[in-house]
Symmetry: C3
Subunit: 151 residues, 3 copies
């Protein structure tokens, strides 16, 4: 049965809300807004960062932004640039994949310090779409990053 106008609107709104959610990560991270970053996730959401750390729940995710590594990057000058995601909707859940490029200031330019594959698992909640799990892995030639980009 083909989708009716309301379902079609809903699908467009869902994709738009997810695009928006992911687009907010970089600016919030670069502003050091730990509460804003954490609020992109569900209350028990997970951020599996590069294979070396898994933050579970909003307090731990906020702690990443408040931590020494992130603060030092911000002092040096940094940009968390995310590419437009490819999104697969499945009712109240969705999966998105994109790239993240972490640039940091050096001399009179910026260097691309980390470039990673990202897989986002998203959930429709009473607050709207939120990140249930984000995994990223550096695109360093190893199999882990490639696995995130395989459907």
């Amino acid at each position: 049965m083909p989708a009716g106008p309301d379902e079609r609107l809903r699908a467009l709104e869902d994709a738009g809300a997810i695009r928006e959610l992911i687009a907010r990560y970089g600016p919030l991270a670069d502003a050091g807004d730990s509460v804003g970053v954490a609020a992109l996730w569900t209350r028990d959401g997970e951020y599996d960062v590069g294979g070396f750390h898994v933050a579970r729940g909003r307090a731990e995710i906020a702690a990443l932004i408040e931590g020494e590594v992130h603060r030092s990057l911000m002092a040096q000058g940094c940009a968390h640039v995310l590419s437009a995601p490819a999104i697969t909707l499945a009712g109240d859940a969705a999966v998105a994949v994109n790239h993240s490029v972490l640039l940091r200031k050096v001399d009179d330019g910026f260097e691309a310090w980390r470039v990673s594959a990202n897989r986002w698992e998203l959930a429709r909640t009473s607050e709207g779409w939120r990140v249930a799990k984000r995994l990223n892995r550096p695109l360093d030639g190893g199999p882990e990053a490639r696995a995130l980009f395989k459907s």
Copy 2:
């Protein structure tokens, strides 16, 4: 009162038109199309560039693209790459934030010469959505760029 179908369609169209407007900046700038770039702004729109220059109105914005700095960048090889914006709609106005990365050709690669935070103030006009004001600031560790990314 929940939004009706027409308002929901309108909100999706507004966000789409703004995404489109912002996505056109980089290609037009890299093509040296000064008239095309200027037409993205309202007639009296402003482009506050990196804190060192404010161009007011389409003629001054076009002059940035026709100027020596931009022409010299184009001759060297450059790319004005903008990330997908996070957009907040408010009726006939909107605010969007994103990153811009200015790459220029060097030896056998490209360097990220300037990486900036951008805040776009947009207005619905009789010509469609246009940029009323764009501010950008280099993400060099200072407070100005971070301020643009704070809501």
Copy 3:
């Protein structure tokens, strides 16, 4: 005559499907998924790569991903990062322009090895929107890349 709700929905869906199609290229390429990459194109679609090679049809496009150059890039660590496209719809056809940035791993960071202008010609098919032709040219200061970005 102003567009009715169904036409407006359709236009939003078309733009969304094209954005999605283009957003899938980078992750599929970085995963080495040659069949997935080729399926983004129409059966007789073309990919004119940087002015040095034209792949015609899905088998030739898949061969690019399976070829020595791409495999060697993947082993080194690479990311095909595409910016959000500006899309012009025209019924069952569309044109989109955006940037592509090919980053590769070096020492403890990544270098932007190739940065290109892209022009995508898209077609509505029985399988959905597909790429009929993609042209890209390095933004090296020459006229070819700029020509792709001129409407």
